[in-house]
């Protein structure tokens, strides 16, 4: 089993709760940077994260995070931070008290623990509510404390289960910026989320799951290009769509061309995305077209999601 010190490796991992399927035959290698876990509810995202952080053990297969196994708690958890989906807290504890105690568990001295706890609380802008009881917090404030808890001990692997759930737009933007900063520092940031346009914004690599299987994995554009059964499409809004359409047909890589019903735009589909954009750039210059906009039709996570999962996977809600 090749010990890869710089990857999170899943080899043939399956997890069953009795006969209920958690995840099945997962083979993954996750590198540094932001990796987004995307998939409908119950597709195994949380199970995968619980496996990765050792909260549950796989029924079959091996998991290695940066070369260490998940069942050596004292070394494993000093490098892993997990912001779980559970919205429950020990009774009567305050925000600061919780982070301080956990840091003390991490072996920090009293002064270090206090300092780092306060640092993490500042990062999530919870300084004024830190000394109030967590029971009195709103959902968003609880979420920020969980985030602070996960980053307080400066882990190298950060696993976040729907970290933005319940956060207000300001906090969402700040959290995404924080994640991107941590990813640039070389951390492994694994985020599960349902808000696809946010996933599109922040993630370098996406893992798409459905019914416990990994359906696709890798950079969004590469994944999209691999899906040969759905040729890439772009929509060009310009003054003479018919001209562009005729020029497009002359190229052999173009598969489909459709003039939009309002007559001010054309939809082009082609097997190779580079040649398609090159064609558009060339025609605009040669024919002096007046361009209103050039937008890819199905290149983002939304479309990949609906092609791979929308149709077969999530029949139900």
């Amino acid at each position: 089993m090749t010990a890869e010190p710089n990857r999170i490796v899943f080899t043939d991992v399956s997890k069953f709760y009795g006969e209920v399927l958690g995840v099945n035959k997962i083979n993954l290698k996750i590198g540094p940077g932001i990796t987004s876990l995307v998939g409908p509810n119950g597709s195994g995202k949380t199970t995968l994260m619980n496996l990765m952080t050792g909260l549950i053990r796989p029924t079959r297969g091996e998991i290695e995070v940066l070369g260490t196994r998940t069942d050596a708690p004292e070394t494993f958890y000093s490098m892993v931070g997990y912001c779980t989906q559970f919205d429950t807290f020990p009774k009567g504890v305050t925000g600061f008290g919780l982070i301080y105690s956990v840091l003390r568990l991490h072996g920090r001295t009293r002064r270090e623990a206090e300092e780092q706890a306060w640092q993490a609380i500042e990062q999530v802008h919870m300084t004024d509510a830190a000394h109030r009881r967590v029971a009195a917090y709103s959902k968003g404030m609880r979420q920020r404390i969980k985030l602070a808890l996960a980053v307080a001990h400066h882990p190298t692997v950060l696993v976040l289960d729907e970290p933005l759930n319940g956060l207000d737009p300001m906090a969402r933007a700040e959290s995404i910026a924080l994640f991107e900063k941590l990813a640039e520092e070389g951390l492994f940031v694994i985020i599960s989320s349902h808000i696809l346009h946010e996933v599109d914004l922040m993630s370098d690599c996406v893992v798409m799951m459905s019914n416990g299987y990994v359906v696709a994995e890798g950079d969004i554009q590469e994944v999209r290009e691999e899906m040969s059964e759905h040729p890439i499409g772009i929509r060009v809004r310009c003054d003479r769509p018919a001209l562009l359409a005729s020029r497009a047909f002359s190229e052999n890589h173009v598969v489909e061309v459709r003039i939009e019903d309002d007559g001010a735009g054309v939809l082009l589909r082609s097997r190779s995305v580079d040649q398609l954009y090159a064609l558009v750039n060339r025609v605009v210059l040669e024919e002096a077209l007046k361009i209103e906009g050039v937008t890819p039709v199905d290149e983002d996570v939304h479309s990949v999601y609906s092609y791979l999962i929308g149709s077969n996977g999530a029949g139900r809600l």
């Binding site: 709103s138 319940g166 914004l201 890819p296 609906s306 999530a314 139900r316």
Partner: protein
């Protein structure tokens, strides 16, 4: 047209701590988005409108009825969908929805008929005969919505309806909310953190911050007046390209590795961008006009009054 909600210097205090500080305003929109950072008092405002908390000072009127005196009449006309999980275990979907309809005053036969109709309308097919505890998260949200609309209210208050739903669930929920909004004069108060959802459903937006009403604007109007700017995505080495574009006099803002935001002066045509791109060996991929989205309105509201950025 009586306003959906009318606030007159409404203040609410929890054991001394001021939560709402003198809100005033009349909101007529068919679908009003209620926004604000955590702890801004959104939930408190909703609960005051529902009569869960008495207002400490000032008054609030819902559909022309005063919260202090006609609360029972208000609750007839309102359908409320609470934020977090809220259902009764060991009860089937149909029985839960039917009981709630009867509690709103519908006679038993009428309640059963409307319960089935609502559950069919929301896509909870055969699951309606199963225990609500066994529902998935998406189905629980739909069950909550069913409970909120089964008694045919004139106004719907939805607290984070799409929270935690997956992509399909959110699409389905937003479709239904829009459909209810367009079925003659049912008004909707949508409280959410997902600005895209609010943008898709609401025509009026109210933004609270630390118990104060910071912004109240009509989205349609806002969309028309905003400055237009271009968002461009490129492929290839953009260093030289950027300098050339600035020389053309475009105001430039770069956010994210490959995404550019720029404002073209009158003299510059889009085609010129392509010229510059061709000369500097850069390929223009995505290019479209963008307006100030709700995100920007929200950020402006936050910065407006000593926002912390």
């Amino acid at each position: 047209m009586i306003p959906a909600i009318e606030l007159d210097n409404l203040s609410v205090l929890f054991s001394g701590r001021p939560i709402l500080k003198g809100l005033s305003g009349a909101f007529y929109g068919r679908a009003i988005g209620l926004l604000g950072p955590n702890g801004a008092g959104k939930s408190t405002l909703i609960q005051t409108l529902l009569g869960f908390h008495p207002p400490t000072r000032g008054s609030a009127r819902v559909l022309g009825m005063d919260v202090r005196t006609q609360i029972r009449e208000i609750r007839h006309a309102i359908g409320y969908m609470p934020e977090n999980d809220s259902f009764i275990t060991r009860m089937t979907g149909i029985r839960l929805v039917r009981m709630m309809a009867e509690l709103s005053g519908l006679p038993p036969a009428e309640a059963l008929e409307r319960a089935h109709e609502t559950l069919f309308h929301l896509g909870l097919g055969e699951a309606r005969y199963r225990d609500v505890g066994t529902y998935s998260l998406g189905m629980k949200q739909m069950a909550k919505l069913a409970v909120a609309i089964v008694h045919g209210p004139r106004m719907l208050i939805l607290d984070e309806p799409t929270n935690g739903l997956d992509a399909d669930g959110r699409k389905r929920m937003l479709e239904i909310i829009r459909e209810i909004r367009d079925s003659h004069d049912t008004q909707i108060i949508l409280c959410s953190h997902l600005l895209r959802d609010v943008e898709e459903c609401c025509d009026e937006v109210v933004i609270l911050k630390e118990g104060l009403l910071v912004t109240h604007c009509n989205l349609e109007a806002e969309r028309r007046t905003n400055r237009k700017f271009i968002q461009v995505e490129t492929r290839g080495e953009t260093g030289v390209f950027l300098t050339r574009v600035e020389q053309l006099g475009c105001e430039l803002a770069v956010n994210g590795s490959r995404r550019l935001k720029m404002i073209l002066p009158e003299t510059v045509e889009v085609r010129d961008l392509y010229h510059v791109a061709a000369e500097t060996g850069v390929q223009i991929r995505r290019l479209d006009y963008k307006r100030d989205s709700l995100q920007d309105i929200f950020l402006k509201a936050m910065e407006g009054s000593n926002g912390r950025t």
